[in-house]
């Protein structure tokens, strides 16, 4: 049995779908962030897999993923800082409750 491109893409797709679902349904900000990480991760997988299967001579996909990981880390750090700050102000991380800055 060959492990071909599609076989890696399918789990990645499902991971992405779960990320979308979680992002839409979750109310907890951290949970939303987790869903976001799922989506990012699935995209990373795609980059790598496409790179590896279709263009084995080049390394762009790999590098892209590398930078994406770095940026994801930065983003998560800032996001969590914001969440903690929000929690400090509102004693809550539920997005439905935090409407003070809306409108």
């Amino acid at each position: 049995m060959d492990l071909n491109l599609i076989m890696y893409l399918i789990p990645s797709l499902i991971m992405f779908g779960c990320g979308v679902y979680g992002f839409i349904t979750r109310k907890n900000m951290i949970a939303i962030l987790i869903s976001l990480e799922l989506m990012l991760n699935s995209v990373d997988i795609n980059f790598v897999v496409f790179n590896r299967y279709l263009f084995p001579a080049q390394q762009e996909g790999m590098f892209f993923t590398l930078f994406a990981i770095a940026i994801a880390a930065a983003e998560t750090a800032v996001a969590i800082a914001i969440i903690i700050n929000v929690y400090r102000a509102a004693k809550n991380v539920d997005i439905n409750q935090i409407t003070k800055m809306k409108f």
Partner: protein, 660 residues
């Protein structure tokens, strides 16, 4: 006096209108009145001089082989619809009828101007409020009427038709503060406007085929040479009738509106709400004959179109009878006189129309007798009807009422007025040697020539005329002793009012001897007229019967009229109510035009059309409100819409790619 100076006959009243209307308002009332009268006096003298020059002078081109020629004295291009053809000119056309009309209009107008000095003032002889406006409007009317009769083309005639309509509107509504005058003026204008609409359509049709408005170009000099375009258009038919018949009938309707032919007569009795001198000038002597004048002016064309002529004949004969029947029962003296006017104008119309049969003039060597008679009657009628109205004005001024129940037995108090009124009555009844006898006799002769039925019918109406005129006369001046109300007993009026009465009475006595046949004929050739003694005798006999009947019923107070009224109650009421024509019009205007057309249209506009556009607006609005909810600030919502949208877009693209 050169004929080209006729323009000043028009210019003076126009100037008087502008002067009195703009400057006169600031001047003392009495002075404006005097200026108005003087202006009119000059106009009158000038008009007489023009008429004299035309009839008796021998200027260039006036007489040719014993035929009096039409003279175009002035012609100024006012409006050119097409550069070379269809040009509206304002000009002066002098021919027998317009010269005669100049005399009629200026005489009556001058008399009315003079008379109004006295009439339009209160008890102490001070002029009323609006005196300047009154004289300005009179001058405007005189100008318009003069302009009408000297028109060189049919469009100029239409223009002045409108102008007389407006000045009549202004004068009827002189007492605009009073509701009846207000309504009457509106009614007069709208009814005549409706008629003018038909006139306009007639002009449009006629000019479409002949490509000109000019009388001379359409009918040739003196009406002998009708242009080919007209005769060839007679062959074209529209809905079964020739287009020229349509055109001429429409033009006649225009004239019928001004001349108060049935069923467009309804404005005239109401127009009596205006000051009485105005009624004398406009609604008895001049404006109401504009329709007759119009038909007379286009007589050569009508002769060629027998269908239109027959319509005029029937309408005229019926109106004469109808109005006479109504006049027999009216209690308001001005209204009675108004119906008498309608009846007499119908005489003139009929007389014009009976002149021809099968496209040819009747009467052998007296061809065109009806035309001559009609113009003759127009002339005499203007004089004696103006006289009657001015007398009525004097009476009304004395007793402050139009109702004859308030009068009775005035003969002792106002002898001059009474005699003048009697002369007018005799003249209209057709008793020799007063003016009406001669003209009415010619008309009856013309009618008998057309057919014995027409003659008998018109003779009967002539008898009715004598009856109702003397009924009015007796009810005003005799019947019973006058009951004096208040301090003032009625008396003859000041000289400004009696002089016109006397002058007009004298004219009414002698005008019948004028050699009309030599002066005014349809083609300018002289016409030898002979007294037709059998017919003349018979008509005098009928008139005497009418007078006798009136004397029997109304000379002294007696129960006979009441008894007759109860005996023929339905007929009497119908006649008193003018055979319900006003109610019919009321129904048409209010119930049909306002309630059934205008209201639904206005509703349709507000509800359906406006509603549609409001609906568009509301739909957009509510759609926006619906969409606004999606813009909630909820990122999760945005993501889901984004994803769904992206998926849909991808799906659509995929389907499109797969399909093509």
């Amino acid at each position: 006096m050169p004929l080209s100076s006729t323009i000043y006959v028009l210019a003076i009243p126009l100037f008087m209108f502008l002067f009195l209307g703009l400057v006169g308002v600031k001047m003392p009332r009495k002075i404006t009145g005097v200026i108005g009268v003087l202006g009119m006096a000059v106009t009158t003298v000038w008009a007489y001089a023009i008429a004299f020059t035309y009839f008796f002078g021998n200027g260039e081109g006036q007489m040719l082989d014993g035929v009096r020629q039409q003279v175009v004295a002035t012609d100024w291009t006012w409006l050119s619809f097409y550069a070379d053809k269809l040009v509206v000119k304002l000009g002066v056309l002098i021919d027998p009828i317009s010269a005669m009309m100049l005399v009629v209009i200026s005489t009556v107008s001058f008399m009315v101007h003079l008379y109004s000095l006295g009439y339009m003032s209160d008890h102490d002889g001070n002029p009323e409020k609006g005196f300047q406006r009154y004289y300005a409007d009179l001058a405007l009317f005189t100008f318009s009427m003069l302009g009408l009769v000297v028109s060189t083309n049919i469009f100029q005639m239409f223009i002045f038709f409108e102008m007389v309509g407006v000045s009549s509107y202004l004068l009827i509504g002189f007492y605009y503060g009073q509701q009846p005058a207000n309504h009457a003026s509106k009614k007069a204008f709208i009814v005549t406007r409706l008629a003018d609409l038909f006139f306009l359509i007639g002009i449009l049709i006629l000019s479409f085929y002949t490509k000109t408005f000019d009388f001379k170009e359409i009918m040739g000099a003196n009406g002998h040479d009708v242009c080919n375009a007209f005769t060839s258009a007679q062959g074209l038919t529209f809905m079964g009738c020739s287009v020229t018949a349509w055109a001429l009938t429409f033009i006649f309707i225009g004239g019928a509106g001004k001349s108060a032919m049935y069923p467009l007569h309804i404005w005239l009795p109401d127009a009596m709400e205006g000051p009485t001198p105005v009624s004398a000038l406009i609604h008895a002597a001049t404006m109401v004959v504009a329709g007759v004048f119009l038909v007379a002016r286009m007589f050569p064309l009508y002769v060629l179109e027998q269908g239109a002529m027959d319509i005029i004949c029937v309408v005229g004969a019926f109106t004469a009878f109808y109005a006479a029947a109504v006049a027999c029962t009216q209690s308001d003296i001005k209204r009675a006189l108004a119906f008498s006017t309608i009846s007499q104008i119908a005489f003139m119309m009929t007389s014009l129309a009976v002149s021809s049969a099968n496209g040819k003039l009747l009467g052998g060597h007296e061809a065109g007798l009806g035309y001559m008679a009609s113009m003759f009657h127009l002339f005499t009628h203007a004089m004696f009807k103006a006289l009657l109205f001015l007398c009525a004005g004097a009476i009304i001024h004395a007793v402050h009422s139009n109702e004859n129940s308030k009068m009775h037995g005035l003969h002792k108090f106002m002898p001059i007025t009474s005699i003048a009124f009697l002369i007018g009555c005799l003249a209209i009844a057709g008793i020799p040697p007063f003016a009406g006898f001669f003209s009415k006799d010619e008309i009856l002769v013309a009618c008998y020539e057309k057919g014995i039925g027409w003659g008998l019918w018109m003779s009967m109406v002539a008898g009715m005329t004598a009856f109702y005129m003397f009924r009015i006369y007796y009810l005003i001046f005799f019947w019973k002793k006058h009951e004096v109300h208040g301090e003032h007993a009625p008396k003859d009026q000041p000289w400004t009012m009696t002089v016109p009465l006397i002058v007009l009475a004298i004219i009414s006595c002698v005008a019948g001897f004028a050699p009309f046949g030599k002066l005014v004929t349809w083609d300018g050739a002289q016409l030898e007229t002979h007294m037709n003694w059998p017919i003349a005798g018979a008509s005098v006999g009928i008139a005497l019967i009418g007078i006798g009947l009136a004397t029997m019923m109304y000379w002294k107070e007696n129960p006979l009229p009441d008894k007759l009224a109860t005996m023929f109650k339905g007929l009497w009421t119908a006649s008193y109510k003018r055979f319900y024509m006003d109610e019919l019009y009321q129904f048409i205007t209010h119930k049909i035009i306002f309630q059934s057309i205008s209201k639904p249209i206005a509703w349709f506009d507000r509800t359906i059309i406006d509603g549609f556009f409001n609906l568009l607006g509301n739909v957009t609005n509510s759609a926006s409100f619906g969409i606004r909810k999606m813009q909630s600030g909820n990122v999760q919502g945005y993501v889901s819409y984004y994803i769904i949208g992206a998926v849909l877009l991808a799906a659509v693209t995929g389907v499109v790619i797969l399909c093509f």
